[in-house]
């Protein structure tokens, strides 16, 4: 290059015409020039200012002989040589300590960051001084050159000449540093910015708290928002000012570093470094704000934080660099950021294009980060639904921004497969999660496209379970709490809830007449199909919404008829076990079912309920007239029991599900009463007559012991068994079976109820096939009164006394006690539903947690009574 340059500028022919004197002048000038240059480069500039005029004369004499380019080349090469040999190695030596820190070591990170800051600032300061020094003499050369008359080769304005030299020099600096760049330097920069940003974030957080204190504690979000906008307005206020100063100082320091880095040619590397630091910090902030709390929205706080920290930082940085950048760094090196010199008054200017681009980038990143975080936890979020509605709303907004719905579908389906659709999960839990999924995802995905994809694996799985229909019906119709204490009750059935949602939606309307409402609903039902793929969306949200959830539930089974049948069986069971005629709940449920499934489908159930209403009336009628008769009639028969104890449910058996007939000999006096009752009925209702189903119904018993009386509610069979022991305290199973009129094995199954209650004891008789049953005697059989739970469970409908159900529950729940205690140890205190949800989440197998909230509450109240737990303000604590 040197040769080329020489030949292009110099005419070699000129050399021949040079005189001896000229040659010696050239040589002398050249030698002197080289000596001074060497001294300058070496930094030995003592007394150089005096020789400035000499330097200038050497330069001009060399120029005179057309050696200007040689002068320029030599000077620049000398500078470059110095940079390569001394300045750059010295600069890089500072970072030797970090040569093998490619992975961050977590333990002493903080310490290292402080070190990095000092080191980087010092190193940059040093090298910048070196650079300034060289620039000073570069300027001297430029000035000398400009003084030469012979400046024809460099045409143009003097300032252009200067620019040319400085950009050339800048290029030399950058390329020297770039070619010697150690591998770890970008990492060092990254750490530096990360540390500074964290510091800034802390200062800002201080501002938050401060600000909240000022605003009082009301409307925290508003406070933050206000603050974020107020930030640039230089509010005059003591502590606020203090922080502003702190912040300004920090930004100025960072600005200095960035400035120095840029002037060394590290513009894009610097930008990469603080960008990655900003994103890292933002990610940490999102994680921190979002956490595992799904009950509040965090999106706004994240956006406010973006405004308050990274954007403030960038804004301040750009403002700081703004005025100096424009001439110091060549335009070719300008980053998009540098395009905003704008004004130097922070906050006064409109946000620059660069800032807006940054904001979009940061927000997109935040949305995506939050979205990924929420998607990963979607299963838990849905378990927690509707309490987790804020998290769902956040996720919805994120997805609208990023459009990555398919991510949600894939991730959630695999979570379902792994967490829910396993043998350990109860059908009830799966169904509840399914319904929660529908409700939650409906917000995100009103069209139901993704819901369809997510729901299908659940439906598919549920179809393989035997108890699915039963569980669906229970969920739809049974409030499990069983009480209707007004709206918003968690004990509501799903149907009730769907209905209420709908009523709330059209609350704005007039005072709805229930009849017209039902009528409209009924009309809708006529059009109802289990699987409305694309039913016309113009039909109004009211119709669409209702179909959505229920339709997707019915979709599991495929037909509503199966559901209705199952409901009929369950309703029959419930009605036949009633001790009174109170069917208000069932009537309400039937009304709701009629709305959703159509009146025709529910016809038989309606007749069943009607039977109960009729029975009540007929029962009163029969008993009233029969008592009159007995008063007037013969007193000869000594009545042990009166008609007062008899109530009867009279069913239209054609409309009921098939009823199991079992022969049983009920106690003679009762039997007598029943036949009198039937006779009276026939008299009143001729030509209708009664056929008794003696094994069905319920009996309330009182058993008298020496010092107490116990009450039981049992089946007629159980009552008949125990009544046999009134006259005879010990029976062989064969004789007892004959007396009751049932097969021996059935008797053995049924009598286990009384054995489990410790009232009857069993022993093997003389014949090994024959068991001996005895009333428990205090002296002899006290030890044999243990509860035999297995047999009780095996006897499917024998445990209808209150005692047995609760005892059983307490036994079953004991395995969860250690979980509950462990949880409370960890969390300090928990509300009922949180304990419930956590158990549901963690006890998916061995043992599976399948208890209702009420059952849990009952169990916990037992633990409180045992003084193991405390209950304060609806929160459970460990008793200390």
């Amino acid at each position: 290059m040197t040769a080329d340059a020489l030949s292009s500028v110099c005419n070699l022919g000129v050399l021949d015409s040079l005189s001896e004197a000229s040659v010696s002048e050239i040589l002398e000038s050249w030698n002197s020039f080289c000596l001074i240059t060497e001294a300058i480069v070496k930094g030995d500039d003592s007394g150089l200012s005096s020789s400035y005029s000499k330097f200038q004369s050497y330069v001009s004499s060399l120029c005179k002989y057309g050696l200007r380019s040689l002068v320029e080349e030599h000077f620049l090469i000398s500078l470059q040589d110095m940079l390569e040999k001394h300045v750059a190695p010295k600069f890089w030596k500072n970072f030797d300590a970090y040569s093998n820190v490619t992975d961050l070591e977590e333990n002493d990170k903080d310490m290292q960051e402080d070190e990095v800051e000092l080191l980087l600032c010092k190193a940059l300061e040093e090298i910048s001084l070196e650079k300034q020094y060289q620039e000073k003499y570069l300027l001297m050369l430029v000035k000398s050159l400009q003084l030469c008359k012979d400046s024809t080769s460099m045409e143009g304005h003097p300032s252009d000449v200067e620019k040319f030299f400085f950009s050339k020099y800048q290029l030399i600096v950058s390329s020297v540093l770039m070619t010697t760049l150690p591998r770890q330097f970008p990492e060092v920069l990254h750490r530096y910015f990360k540390g500074r940003l964290e510091e800034l974030s802390t200062i800002m957080a201080g501002n938050y708290e401060d600000n909240e204190l000022q605003d009082g504690n009301d409307m925290e979000l508003y406070g933050k928002g206000k603050h974020a906008t107020r930030f640039g307005n230089m509010d005059i206020d003591g502590s606020y000012d203090q922080k502003k100063i702190l912040e300004n100082k920090l930004v100025r320091n960072i600005g200095m570093v960035v400035h120095n880095l840029r002037s060394l040619g590290f513009t894009s590397m610097t930008e990469d470094a603080y960008a990655s630091a900003i994103f890292l910090l933002l990610k940490a902030k999102v994680y921190d704000l979002a956490g595992d709390d799904y009950r509040s929205s965090v999106l706004e706080s994240i956006k406010e934080w973006i405004q308050a920290v990274p954007l403030q930082f960038l804004h301040a940085l750009l403002d700081y660099l703004g005025d100096s950048i424009s001439y110091l760094s060549p335009s070719s090196m300008k980053s998009p950021l540098a395009s905003s010199p704008s004004s130097c008054y922070p906050g006064a200017s409109k946000p620059s294009e660069g800032i807006i681009r940054w904001q979009l980038r940061l927000e997109y990143f935040a949305y995506e980060t939050l979205q990924d975080l929420r998607i990963a936890k979607l299963f838990e979020i849905i378990v927690d639904y509707p309490d987790s509605a804020p998290a769902i709303e956040d996720l919805k907004q994120c997805l609208e921004y990023t459009g990555q719905h398919s991510k949600l579908v894939d991730s959630f389906i695999s979570a379902l497969q792994y967490r829910l659709l396993t043998a350990g999960a109860s059908t009830n839990d799966i169904l509840h999660q399914y319904v929660s999924t529908i409700k939650a995802l409906r917000t995100i995905d009103p069209a139901g496209v993704f819901l369809e994809a997510v729901g299908e694996p659940i439906r598919e799985y549920l179809r393989g379970r035997k108890d699915t229909i039963k569980c669906i019906v229970t969920m739809l119709t049974d409030g499990s709490g069983g009480n209707n204490n007004g709206p918003g009750n968690s004990g509501d059935s799903l149907l009730e809830e769907l209905n209420r949602d709908e009523e709330n939606q059209e609350n704005a309307g007039l005072d709805d007449d229930i009849n017209t409402d039902d009528k409209q609903a009924w009309i809708d039902v006529q059009r109802w199909e289990p699987d409305p793929v694309e039913a016309d969306p113009l039909k109004g949200s009211r119709y669409r919404r209702k179909v959505d959830v229920l339709g997707m539930i019915v979709g599991i089974i495929g037909s509503k008829d199966q559901l209705v049948n199952e409901y009929r069986v369950m309703l029959a069971e419930k009605l036949l076990n009633k001790t009174d005629y109170d069917i208000d709940t069932e009537i309400r449920t039937l009304e709701l079912l009629k709305i959703h499934f159509g009146e025709n489908s529910m016809q038989k159930c309606e007749i069943m309920l009607n039977d109960l209403i009729d029975s009540k009336r007929t029962n009163t009628n029969v008993k009233a007239t029969i008592n009159q008769l007995s008063q007037t009639g013969s007193e000869s028969r000594e009545r042990e029991v009166s008609f007062d104890i008899i109530d009867t449910t009279i069913i239209s058996s054609n409309f009921w599900p098939p009823i199991q007939d079992e022969v049983v000999n009920i106690p003679e006096p009762v039997d007598q009463l029943l036949s009198d009752y039937a006779k009276r009925y026939h008299e009143i209702k001729t030509p209708r007559k009664l056929l008794w189903k003696k094994n069905l119904g319920t009996v309330k018993l009182e058993l008298e012991f020496e010092d107490r009386t116990l009450q039981f509610t049992v089946t007629p069979v159980h009552a008949s068994i125990i009544m046999q022991f009134q006259d005879q305290t010990s029976w062989t199973s064969k004789n007892l079976a004959a007396a009751i009129g049932m097969p021996e094995d059935t008797l053995q199954r049924r009598i286990s109820f009384w054995i489990s209650k410790g009232i009857i004891a069993e022993s093997s008789g003389e014949d090994s096939n024959d068991h001996l049953y005895k009333l428990v005697d205090s002296m002899a059989d006290g030890g044999k009164t243990g509860i035999n739970n297995e047999e009780l469970v095996a006897d499917d409908d024998a445990e209808r006394s209150v005692a047995s159900v609760e005892d059983q529950l307490r036994k079953e729940m004991t395995v969860y006690e250690k979980f509950i205690v462990g949880m409370l140890k960890n969390f300090g205190s928990m509300a009922l539903d949180r304990i419930h949800n956590t158990l549901k989440m963690f006890c998916v197998s061995d043992p599976t947690y399948d208890k209702s909230l009420q059952q849990l509450q009952f169990f916990l109240s037992g633990l409180v009574a045992e003084e193991k737990l405390e209950l304060r303000d609806n929160m459970y604590f460990l008793k200390k």
């Binding site: 309606e606 009450q711 009232i759 205090s778 609760e806």
Partner: protein, 100 residues
């Protein structure tokens, strides 16, 4: 209160002296005291109801003719009204007369 008592049941060691029935809620089905099971006109069960009715029993009673054949009241009325001037029993073709 009840619960406390029941929990103590496990430890009962007294002999119970006597039992009382406080309530016997029995279950029965009703049926028409007819010889046939189904109505000869509508072919529906007597214990059900005629095609025009929704509720069985009192709302859709049976009626006997002098010939001792029974029908849903609503069914035979429709039949009688359609057979003018004189209706016959759909089963035995005898002149239809309501049983006294």
């Amino acid at each position: 209160m009840e619960r406390v008592e029941f929990q103590k049941l496990e430890f009962i060691s007294e002999v119970f002296t006597s039992g009382f029935i406080c309530l016997w809620h029995a279950v029965a089905s009703w049926t028409w005291d007819a010889h046939d099971e189904t109505c000869g006109i509508c072919r529906m069960a007597f214990d059900g109801c005629c095609p025009d009715c929704k509720l069985p029993g009192d709302d859709c009673p049976l009626i006997w003719g002098a010939c001792n054949h029974a029908f849903h009241l609503h069914c035979i009325l429709k039949w009688v009204n359609s057979q003018t001037p004189q209706a016959h029993c759909p089963m035995c073709r005898r002149e239809w007369q309501f049983k006294e």
